[in-house]
């Protein structure tokens, strides 16, 4: 198990290095750091001197090493729009996205497991067929369209829910949370439902197909042959194995969720990382883009590593031998 964890960490580190190279390439090509510092009213000679002084004329490899060293200290340069270190900007916006993803995950996990398991056990049942139909419609509607339609219906037509922003926030030690006020929760409803609209059908279908496959397996047949009650066969024998796949795929799906936060946050003007990212793109704010890429990369690699380790702990086959 220990060797397994070590190996996962080495893999994770390698991926981070690759991301950092991409991030560095972005920094090299997007925006002009000299302009970011001086503005445009500077002569060419002065610019050149500035470039020398900033080390922009050094060999690329040296520049990359410098970039990595700074990055390790959490220094990605200043965002030229916010006039603050990019990392600080990222950290100040992170809570909004984390809360959004958290509530979405609760909705997805809370609904997909019972619905997926139910429709696997009774695949021919009317409700299961309805679920499958609804889920394919769900996968086919883009997140941003669901978001827009919800705004049109609940904000514009009915006037029940606010259409943008996070509402009233409470700051706890630098963490601005919307989860302690009613207004905050009202603002959370539509973005989190919209975001889960893409994950929920995927998860229901995943759990269903996985569970159905396991219900056909020899060991489930043997469990029936032992005369176990159906609840024991379904929830102990079949579900425990289903969970293994759901854990692995769940980790991968988190990557997709982050991509979709960009869309959701844009529609709802949710002041989180996705919204920040789109702003940075419009303003060609290279430092911020790089910091965002590194932040998302680290979160994603971190989550994937943790998921793999949890999988390793749940799955007895990995626990002893250390190989997947």
């Amino acid at each position: 198990m220990f060797a397994f964890i070590i190996r996962r960490f080495i893999q994770a580190a390698l991926v981070i290095v690759i991301i950092s190279i991409i991030a560095f390439a972005i920094k090299q090509n997007v925006g002009d750091p000299v302009r970011a510092i001086t503005g445009i009213s500077v002569s060419a000679a002065e610019r050149e001197a500035m470039r020398d002084q900033l080390g922009l004329n050094d060999p690329v490899f040296i520049q990359y090493l410098r970039f990595s060293k700074d990055a390790l200290h959490g220094d990605f340069g200043n965002s030229f729009f916010y006039k603050k270190p990019a990392v600080d900007v990222i950290l100040s916006k992170a809570p909004a996205t984390i809360e959004l993803v958290f509530v979405t995950s609760l909705i997805v996990i809370g609904l997909s497991i019972p619905l997926g398991v139910y429709s696997a056990i009774y695949p021919k049942n009317l409700f299961s067929r309805f679920l499958m139909g609804a889920s394919i419609v769900g996968v086919s509607i883009p997140v941003f369209l669901i978001a827009i339609m919800m705004i049109y219906l609940f904000s514009i037509k009915l006037g029940w829910l606010p259409s943008f922003g996070r509402g009233e926030l409470v700051s706890i030690g630098g963490w601005d949370t919307g989860m302690l006020t009613l207004d905050g929760w009202l603002h959370l409803i539509m973005p989190s439902v919209a975001l889960s609209s893409i994950m929920l059908p995927l998860f229901i279908r995943l759990i269903r197909s996985e569970m159905m496959e396991i219900l056909e397996s020899e060991y489930v047949k043997f469990a029936w042959a032992k005369g176990l009650t159906k609840h024991r066969v379904w929830f102990v024998h079949a579900f425990k194995n289903t969970l293994l796949t759901v854990i692995t795929v769940g980790g991968v799906q988190l990557g997709i969720t982050i991509a979709f936060t960009i869309l959701t946050e844009t529609v709802f003007q949710w002041q989180g990382l996705g919204f920040l990212f789109m702003e940075a793109v419009e303003r060609a704010d290279a430092s911020l883009l790089v910091a965002y890429l590194m932040f998302v990369g680290i979160v994603m690699v971190g989550v994937n590593t943790i998921v793999d380790i949890i999988y390793g702990m749940v799955n007895p086959t990995v626990r002893i031998t250390g190989v997947k």
């Binding site: 990557g255 960009i262 994603m300």
Partner: protein
């Protein structure tokens, strides 16, 4: 050719298709949509790319059947004053072009890598599969958003508009190759064990001939299923990118950019600019997805999960 048609008519696929009302309906809808897209210049009542048809005086006219509707514009006009129906038809043409183009590209990359990976195995295989893992963990949409964003920031919005179509095909194509590679690799591994491959090798055929001539035809049914789903995904990705303002410019809008351009107007009541292209997009994706689902049920290949 007629022999092939007869063979197909006797196949299980055709038999199942005839009995599946949902599949037939989706097929009909999809055919109509594709036909409309291909013959857009004949079907659209206006050419949305022609500046003559862009008249701000005509902007935000509601659909024909609503109060203030104009008989010249069946579904009303967008914020630029273009006929919405014509713009949607042209927009769908672009969405489909990018979707299909991206899938062609990714299938070429993915199938080649998948065949090589599965057939030769070893270091090459683990290298490609590691790469696929890493890319998949970032999700194709994230990769596509990122690269489009960077390119747009690097070349500027104006110039980006000119190269948007080939670039979107490239980005979406490259961001989705791992699914193909993994699916093909998995079926290659399964096929490789079978005797006919051994027989071909003993006969002295080269690796290329065995891969393309013998193994590849046997991986077609998972590829067919995957391709269907991937077209839907690619169309969806394009719409997402365009919605974020990273895709097609509003002067040559795809469905996604139309939805984006209409979004700010729904607050002032002009819902049709967003909702009509939105519904068309959903119908398009849904019909492809339903067909994909039908194919998956009938051909029942092992697709790679995740």
């Amino acid at each position: 050719m007629s022999r092939h048609i007869d063979n197909f008519k006797q196949s299980y696929l055709w038999y199942a298709f005839k009995r599946d009302k949902v599949a037939i309906a989706s097929m009909i809808v999809l055919c109509i949509l594709v036909f409309t897209a291909v013959f857009a210049p004949l079907i659209a009542t206006y050419n949305p790319y022609d500046p003559i048809n862009t008249d701000v005086m005509n902007s935000e006219i509601p659909p024909l059947w609503m109060e203030g509707g104009d008989s010249a514009f069946l579904m009303g006009t967008d914020a630029q004053g273009r006929d919405l129906f014509s713009t949607m038809v042209y927009g769908m043409r672009i969405s489909l072009l990018i979707g299909v183009g991206a899938v062609v590209l990714q299938s070429v990359i993915g199938i080649t890598i998948g065949l090589i990976s599965g057939y030769f195995g070893g270091k090459l295989d683990s290298f490609f599969m590691r790469m696929a893992d890493v890319q998949l963990s970032f999700s194709y949409l994230m990769v596509a958003i990122f690269f489009t964003a960077i390119l747009q920031a690097a070349v500027g919005v104006g110039r980006f508009g000119e190269i948007a179509i080939p670039f979107l095909i490239l980005v979406i194509g490259f961001s989705q190759w791992p699914q193909y590679a993994r699916t093909v690799r998995a079926s290659v591994l399964a096929e490789k064990k079978k005797e006919y491959v051994e027989a071909a090798r003993v006969t002295g055929f080269g690796a290329g001939r065995i891969m393309w001539g013998h193994i590849f035809p046997n991986t077609l049914s998972p590829i067919l299923v995957l391709s269907t789903i991937q077209v839907a995904n690619a169309v969806m990705s394009e719409a997402a990118l365009s919605f974020l303002g990273l895709g097609m410019p509003i002067s040559r809008p795809s469905l996604g950019s139309l939805i984006n351009s209409g979004f700010e107007y729904i607050f002032s009541g002009a819902w049709w600019i967003t909702i009509f292209p939105g519904v068309l997009l959903v119908v398009l994706i849904l019909s492809i997805n339903l067909l994909g689902d039908f194919l998956r049920d009938v051909l029942n290949p092992k697709l790679y999960k995740g």
